[in-house]
């Protein structure tokens, strides 16, 4: 009878939500959704992230480094370039020979590829793509060399070099696109003759990578300010300033300062001046080492503003509502951000993409960590921003990270799911009077860490009902009578907990 009643009530409980008006009903349903998410999460999400991480290892490299990686190659050619400055026909000739050589190599390679294509059709071997990659890498390197050498043939190397570099960069980017995303150059030991080259490249990646971000970062900081300035503050009347427009290639060139003697490129003018000292004593004078623009300060310099080379852009001088950019840095970052591919992907979230490395770095600082989440799905990097958002909108509420709702921190989701039946089992063990301790110990070894969980030690059917049947009646007994039975019970009770090995024998007399 009792049982039926409880059953009825519980069934009532199930029906209840249906009767509730719709606006309130939404909450339980929402809740259940959350739970579902909880359960789906461990299997699905984990899997996803793992895959993503696998990709990551490869993805990152091919997309970012190639542009940087090939730069050193072009720098290798710089001695040639320096010679060209003097317009030496002999060097010109040797360069042309070099070019010829390279073109032959190129031809061979292309032949090879064509040959392979035919072969490949037959076999679906796994290292076919790898070989293809190697060939493509070779190809790229040769083309790069070609271009750089060709560039050095131009009469004035000063202007040509950035151009070359930019072409190289573009090519590199293009190249990065050519590679299939699932494969990469790094950490991969090819069973092929291209070994040396590939490794070379990977070696060269590092230094450029290291110096890249810090340089870019400082640029980014200045630039964001500058851009704001340009937007908010000054409204220079058109014509009151000189408009400069750098070409796309110039903008994308990594270096802005070049040595007039050797052509070496620098990211900072100060470093170039430092470099110049090596070219002779005349560059060591204080005047030469001083900041160049300070001299010219005496004359009123015309205000310079910059135009974006991209036609149709608001920052382009031909635009109706032209808004000039303040500095070269602004131009650079503007161009990269608005008119270039976003090639830097965040390694944490794998969704955010950036075209300026510094932007990625800034994002990565906040991505994933300290994510303040609103129920509407918006995330905030700062808690006060989230609370400001919630205060502003009706019905939005702070969302609690999923891992917190799961309770036990530090344990893997999978582990927790696996353990839960274990817990139940252990409680069952405790229910039965004979094996309570044995069960506890046994399970404790099974799932370590649960030992301290009080739930495991709790059994609603207490020890007194199992092992101490006598006690509850005891106070109603007369005192003298119970003494003997008492001592027996006590001894039993003592044996039971003390010998943790599970003395089922002590309970036998029952």
């Amino acid at each position: 009878m009792d049982l039926k009643e409880t059953w009825k009530s519980s069934s009532c409980g199930n029906e209840l939500p249906k009767k509730v008006p719709p606006d309130q009903q939404s909450f339980p349903s929402l809740n259940s959704q959350q739970h579902q998410r909880e359960w789906e999460d461990p299997s699905l999400l984990n899997y996803c992230t793992r895959i993503d991480q696998q990709f990551l290892g490869f993805n990152q490299r091919p997309e970012t480094p190639p542009s940087a990686a090939f730069n050193p190659n072009s720098q290798l050619k710089i001695p040639d370039a320096s010679k060209t400055q003097d317009w030496d026909p002999r060097t010109m000739l040797s360069n042309l020979c070099f070019l010829e050589d390279k073109i032959h190599q190129l031809q061979d390679l292309v032949h090879l590829i064509v040959g392979r294509r035919a072969e490949v059709v037959g076999r679906s071997n796994e290292f076919v793509p790898q070989q293809q990659q190697l060939i493509t890498a070779d190809l790229t390197s040769i083309i790069v060399q070609l271009i750089s050498t060709a560039g050095s043939l131009l009469p004035s190397s000063k202007h040509s070099l950035p151009l070359v570099n930019s072409i190289v960069t573009q090519l590199g980017q293009l190249d990065g696109g050519l590679f299939p995303p699932g494969s990469g150059l790094n950490g991969f030991v090819p069973p092929h003759n291209g070994v040396s080259k590939v490794e070379d490249q990977s070696d060269q990646i590092d230094p450029t990578n290291v110096c890249g971000p810090e340089q870019n970062y400082s640029v980014e900081e200045n630039e964001s300010k500058d851009e704001e300035d340009a937007d908010d503050g000054e409204n220079l009347p058109p014509g009151s300033y000189e408009i400069l427009q750098l070409e796309k290639e110039e903008i994308l060139a990594p270096h802005t300062h070049f040595c007039v003697i050797c052509g070496k490129g620098f990211k900072r003018d100060a470093n170039l001046r430092m470099h110049m000292r090596g070219h002779g004593d005349e560059y060591k004078t204080p005047a030469a080492l001083a900041k160049p623009h300070k001299e010219s300060n005496s004359e009123p310099m015309p205000i310079k503003r910059y135009s974006c080379p991209y036609v149709g852009c608001k920052r382009n001088k031909d635009h109706k509502k032209f808004q000039p950019l303040k500095t070269i840095l602004c131009v650079k970052n503007h161009y990269k951000r608005t008119h270039c591919d976003k090639s830097y992907t965040c390694s944490r979230c794998n969704t955010k993409k950036f075209s300026v490395l510094a932007d990625l770095k800034t994002h990565e600082k906040h991505c994933g960590r300290d994510k303040w989440l609103c129920s509407c799905g918006t995330t905030f990097s700062r808690k006060d921003k989230l609370f400001g958002h919630i205060a502003l909108f009706q019905g939005h509420t702070p969302a609690i990270p999923l891992d917190e709702t799961k309770g036990l921190a530090g344990q893997s989701d999978r582990g927790e799911i696996d353990e839960s039946p274990n817990k139940v089992a252990r409680i069952d063990f405790n229910f039965s009077p004979d094996t309570s301790i044995e069960g506890g110990i046994h399970n404790a070894t099974n799932s370590k860490g649960n030992l301290d969980d009080p739930a495991g030690y709790f059994s609603p059917l207490n020890f007194d009902t199992c092992n101490f049947n006598g006690y509850q009646e005891f106070p109603r007994n007369t005192f003298e009578d119970s003494e003997s039975s008492f001592s027996f019970l006590i001894s039993g009770s003592c044996n039971y907990p003390r010998k943790t090995g599970g003395e089922s024998g002590s309970n036998d007399p029952q």
Binding site: D384, F387, P454, A455, F458, S459, C494
Partner: protein
């Protein structure tokens, strides 16, 4: 049963003529004693049903029988689970499934083991919940707060000491529970400006807000003070609040009636001066343990025209400050200067002569005042209801006569550790409304004075005679005869007290607290009398009653089924007595130190048999004598162990072999001398 039915059927049951509503309203009058309703329900089946339907509030002892009792009482609206040592998610599920929409209030303070899952269940099923108390749920985290946020009708929420809840969790509550009128976040150290600020922004209905000990600053104070209906604001121990933040008060919080700024170290009179302009309705102000009560501070509060009560406990007080308070144009009803340094006759006298309407005055430990102050107090404040003056040791014995002569409306009088003598007591016996009398450590009083109290103060509820050495059986006898309504009696260390006192006290059927610590002459016989006579006994302290043994425990176990707390240390109780006590289902707290006759096995058995235990004080030595799993199991049932490692005091005394200490332990006069030596 059958016979009864046959006799009943022909005769008309007059109760059948009464409608249910009428019976209900009769039952409404049975609220004083819970046992009365029980008796009523045991009369017959129809009474049982009627009573079951009538019951609104329930305070169960265990969670095991929740299903049954909730089915028995289907109309429960208020459920107090604070006595259940263990409430887990399944218990909450049972409650939510059975009570459903009926449930309006649930108290889960002091219970453990439930999580946000259970709370969520409860809140979703019991949509009419108005009140939830989750104080002390230190394990609860933000998900629990998010679960609470689903209680759309919630008006009152206590989260005291929920230290793991952060701004995020309280943010959910703020957004979800729009109807909140009261929220207590005392000691929720994880909550800061953002969470509190959001509450102030989202819950516009808030009347009472307790933010004590939160790391908040003025950032959240601004939106709080814009709350239209805010009446009570508690900012105790908010170190982040300073004068600068209080400047915001100038804009005003017109509805504010109570403000507690105790222990706000960074608030001075400068900040308080902004109170006067903005908070016109302020009635009660608590500035305990704050900045010194100087002239400047008193002046800054001068314009609070509605102020009735001010508490300055523990502040440094200056004479000009007190005088300035005396010059306020309002008339205070309540003044507390407890533990204030610097309270002198001059200052206090000038204050009390102006505030003639004082109802409550607390000058505890104002050690500088003498009979001059008492004369002024009694002269001007004749309508005093409560006077607390513990440890005003310079007040001479004659002064106490004045109290009886002039303040006859006194209901509460604390004269602990004073020079009062029998003449004083006789005079005080004129206060016929006296319900709470504390005469602890009054070494000059004897049975003669106390007997007079017993004769005249028939409404006495609480009597404290701790270490009042002159009191013997005749005094207690007079009290027991004259004050049948006694609920709390403390005769600790009155070494002359014997079983006769206890036997006479057993007439006081409402007695719920008895402390006879250190009365060596009391035996099991006296205790048995108490057990039989005082069935309401809840708290019992028989520590150092060396002559009480198992024979006293057995009647206690039989009759005192309401006993919740017992201290047995140093008594002669053994395993047997302890085991019999275990049958008291209410028993929650036991202190069992230095029981010579207690064996580990006996202790283990008693602990296991006593299912409702929440707190046990034990000797450290038992920790190693009993298996770890036993303690684990008991802790899982909701019991907390406190381990003490004190040497058995008699042995300690013997070792020191000084008569002085032995004397001091038992003899209050020596005890006090020793105390003064220390000082």
């Amino acid at each position: 049963m059958k016979k009864q039915k046959q006799t009943h059927v022909p005769s008309t049951n007059y109760f059948d003529l009464l409608s249910e509503e009428i019976v209900f309203s009769i039952l409404d009058f049975l609220d004083d004693n819970p046992l009365d309703k029980k008796s009523f329900s045991l009369v017959c089946k129809s009474f049982y049903t009627t009573e079951s339907l009538h019951r609104r509030a329930l305070k169960p002892l265990r969670s095991e029988h929740l299903t049954k009792i909730l089915h028995r009482f289907p109309c429960i609206t208020n459920l107090d689970l604070s006595l259940c040592p263990r409430i887990d998610d399944s218990s909450l599920k049972v409650i939510s499934n059975v009570c459903k929409n009926m449930l309006r209030s649930i108290d889960l303070s002091r219970t453990k083991f439930f999580t946000h899952v259970g709370l969520s269940n409860l809140v979703v099923n019991c949509v009419n919940l108005v009140e939830i108390d989750l104080s002390n749920a230190t394990e609860l985290k933000d998900p629990a707060a998010a679960a609470i946020a689903e209680a759309k009708n919630l008006e009152r929420l206590w989260l005291g000491r929920c230290k793991a809840i952060t701004d995020i969790g309280i943010g959910c509550v703020a957004v979800g529970c729009k109807k909140l009128r009261l929220i207590s976040l005392k000691w929720c150290l994880g909550i800061g400006d953002l969470g509190v600020g959001l509450i102030a922004v989202k819950c516009k209905e808030i009347r009472s807000l307790d933010l004590s000990y939160l790391p908040i600053t003025k950032k959240c104070l601004l939106p709080i003070l814009e709350l239209q209906y805010l009446e009570d604001l508690f900012l105790e121990g908010c170190f982040g609040i300073d004068d600068d933040s209080l400047a915001a008060l100038k804009k005003g919080c017109k509805s504010l009636e109570t403000l507690d700024m105790s222990s706000c170290q960074n608030v001075s009179h400068v900040g308080l001066s902004s109170l006067t302009s903005g908070t016109a309705c302020l009635r009660q102000l608590v500035l305990a343990y704050g900045s010194p009560v100087t002239l400047a501070l008193a002046d800054s509060l001068q314009k609070l025209s509605m102020l009735q009560s001010i508490k300055l406990d523990g502040c440094l007080v200056t004479c000009p400050g007190l005088k300035a308070i005396g010059n306020w144009c309002i008339s205070l009803r309540e003044l507390s200067l407890s533990k204030c340094l610097g309270v002198t006759d001059e200052g206090l006298s000038s204050l009390v002569t102006k505030h003639k309407d004082l109802r409550k005055l607390d000058v505890t430990c104002c050690r500088k005042i003498t009979h001059v102050s008492i004369a002024h107090i009694t002269n001007s404040c004749t309508s005093l209801i409560s006077l607390r003056m513990e440890s005003c040791t310079l007040v001479s014995r004659e002064a106490f006569v004045l109290i009886g002569q002039r303040c006859q409306f006194l209901e509460e009088l604390d004269l602990t550790d004073n020079e009062i003598d029998d003449e004083g007591l006789k005079s005080i016996s004129r206060c016929s409304k006296l319900s709470n009398l504390k005469l602890g450590i009054c070494l000059n009083i004897t049975d003669e004075g106390l007997a007079q109290i017993g004769l005249c103060c028939s409404q006495l509820i609480e009597l404290d005679l701790y270490r009042s050495a002159g009191i013997m059986d005749t005094g207690i006898l007079a009290i027991a005869r004259g004050c049948p309504g006694l609920e709390m009696v403390n005769i600790a260390y009155c070494k002359e007290i014997t079983d006769h006192s206890l036997i006479s006290l057993s007439r006081c059927s409402k007695l719920n607290t008895l402390e006879t610590r250190g009365c060596p002459l009391i035996t099991s016989l006296g205790l048995a009398a108490i057990a039989v006579g005082c069935k309401q006994l809840v708290k019992l302290d028989i520590k150092k009653c060396y002559n009480i043994d198992d024979a006293g425990m057995i009647p206690l176990a039989h009759f005192s089924q309401n006993l919740r707390q017992i201290n047995l240390s140093y008594s002669s109780v053994t395993d047997v007595g302890l085991l019999s006590l275990a049958s008291i289902s209410c028993l929650q707290s036991m202190t069992i130190l230095h029981l010579k006759g207690l064996t580990p096995s006996g202790l283990a058995a008693a602990l296991l048999a006593c299912g409702g235990l929440t707190k046990v004080k034990l000797q450290e030595s038992f920790k190693s004598l009993l298996p770890r799993h036993l303690f684990k199991h008991l802790e899982a049932r909701g019991c907390v162990f406190q381990w003490r490692d004190k040497v058995f005091q008699i042995i300690e005394m013997a070792l020191r072999s000084t008569f002085y200490y032995l004397q001091a332990e038992v003899d209050p006069i020596f005890w006090k001398l020793q105390l003064e030596d220390v000082e």
